[in-house]
Every structure is written in structure tokens, then in C-alpha cells.
Amino acid sequence: MTPGLRRWVFLAGMAGLAAFYLWGLHGLPGFGRYPGPYGDLINRIAVSQTNATGVVSAVNFEYRGFDTLGEEFILFAAATGVATVLRRLRGEREGSAEDEAAGRDVPPTSDAVRQVALLLTGPALVMGWYLASHAQTSPSGGFQGGVVLATAFILIYLAGQFLAFERFSPVDVTDAVEAVGAGGFAAIGLAGVAMGLSFLTNFLGLGTIPGAVSSSGTIALISFFVGMEVAAAFVLIVSEMLDQALLLRATGPGGRSR
């Protein structure tokens, strides 16, 4: 099938799909006229039921906690998949970071990039920690806080060299942290079962002030574990890709490296 023919077949199919899609969307109540009872119901009762003023995080970790557990395991499986697919194949050798750094001639990182990255690493760590631990008060939560924490480690790589990044986040420690994060979420759910309640029940005390850091029971705890897991998963993915780009060298015929 030539590219031109493929383009015309696609345009014909896409016209039909777009027509059906728009016809379906036309049946919605229109933009800005949200009618549904579910959202209003949750907004009304969430603060009094869970003592959490961040309703989105309450939905994520309390009312819909089981789905979030599933999505977190998708993340875990994707990180494991990246580590498996990017393994060292037969016919490649992995140089150590010091040897590879000596033989490369790349332009040195500019001073502006290094200084800005150094200045931003500390605030990024603090911001990620704040976001991961305040899920129930304001727009924060485990997922965002975890990604900001991973960004702090990436800034270490940008400010310095790959050697520094490798020293700050060795693969074994990152793997262990990710496993603790994913397992901790499941363990909180199983702790509910061990007490005779159903899986993922909010069994800790709800606190007195809605929106305080110590309120809302297991929501804050689950958000903390999710933050740990997301940060470790992204650091693992980035370090695997960096290993691929910088360390793994193919050995040509005769063992010479290309």
C-alpha cells in the first residue's frame, strides 16, 4: 500500500469516525451545564465524612481507592517492563561510568545551567515532600509529589555529571523504595482486612479539624506511600534510559566496541 493510498484511506475512515464522535458528543448536556448528581453529592458529603478538604484526593484514595491501587500497579509494571526490555543483550558490554566518562568529548555544561539546577534541587525536594504529604488539604497528592521528587534527582544529573546521579540513586535502593511504596499501599488495605473490616477501609482516626495534616485517616498515609512509589518508578526509568544512552556499548565482530 503506497503512502498516498494509505493517507486517503485514513482520511475516509477518520471522516466517518469524526462524524460518529461528534454525533455522540452532541447528545451531552453541553459544555458548562454539568447536571449529574454524583459530583454534587460527593462535594456535599466528602468533607464531613472524611475530614479532608481536598475532595479530589479523597475520591482518589478513599472512595475510589481500589482503582488507584490498580493504576499504581500499572506504573510499577511499566517501570519493571522498562528495566527488563532495556537489559544488556548478548553482544553488548556495559562500561563502568568512570571509563566511559574519560573517553567522551562533549562540551562541558554551561555555568548558568549548573547554577540554576543546583539552586533548584533543594526547593524541588522540599516541594515534592510537601505535595506528597498534604493530599487532603490543598491541590496536592501522591502522584504529583512523586513526580516532583523525581525531578529533583534529574536536576542532580543536569547540574553535575552522570556519576553524581548514579551515586545519589543506586538501582538497588531505588528498587527497594519502589517495592516498599507499592507494597505499603496494599498492606494498608490488607490491614483493614486483618481487623475484620473490608479491604481499604479507613480505619485510622479521622482527626478533629477538617484539612489538617493529621486528619482524614489513611488518606494521608496512602498518599505518602504513593508518592514514594511514583518517585522511585520515575527515577528508575530515567536511570535505565541514561544507562542505555551513556554506558551500554555494542561490541562489534572481534570484540571491538563501536
Partner: protein
């Protein structure tokens, strides 16, 4: 439905409509630009700008949590991973 309670964050409804319409047009143009840029390295930069525009659109849709997620993921982590992949592919083609 008119708003009965005026909070410190309420802007006139017409102004919010205009802001959302402008951001929607910018997002549509950004998506077209991402697809029509064929050189991969240039496309990564355009993708990063597109992530920023999407984050602004989500903010105009009153969703600050989603803004935080999209900003960190779409404008920083994904372009970094794509650039690392491109570096690996290019170093093998030399």
C-alpha cells in the same frame, strides 16, 4: 446556573469563557504543530510547549491537581525520556 456565593477567586463568567476559548484554540494549534514537525529533536521542544499550554487549559477548567501533574510530566519528564532515546539512537547511527 448562577453563582450564589461570591468567593475571593471568582472572575466574571464572560472573562472565563473568553480565556477558555483562547486556550482551546491555542491547544488545537499546538497539537497540529506537534504532528506537522517532522524532525524529532525539534518536535520534542514543541511537545514541551504543548504540555505547558495543556496545563494552562486545565487551570482554566478549574482543575489545579491535573495542572500540577501535566506540568511536571508533560513538560519535563516526557521530553527528557524522548531526548535520551534520541541520543541513544543517534549514537548508534554514527
Amino acid at each position: 446556573m448562577t453563582l450564589a456565593v461570591v468567593t475571593p477567586y471568582t472572575v466574571p463568567a464572560g472573562l472565563m469563557d473568553v480565556l477558555q476559548a483562547v486556550l482551546l484554540v491555542l491547544v488545537a494549534l499546538g497539537a497540529t504543530a506537534v504532528v506537522l514537525t517532522r524532525a524529532p529533536v525539534r518536535q520534542v521542544i514543541v511537545l514541551s510547549v504543548y504540555g505547558l499550554l495543556l496545563a494552562l487549559l486545565f487551570l482554566a477548567f478549574q482543575a489545579p491537581d491535573v495542572t500540577l501533574s501535566e506540568l511536571t510530566v508533560g513538560a519535563i519528564v516526557l521530553p527528557l525520556l524522548l531526548l535520551l532515546g534520541l541520543a541513544k539512537v543517534r549514537s548508534r547511527e554514527k
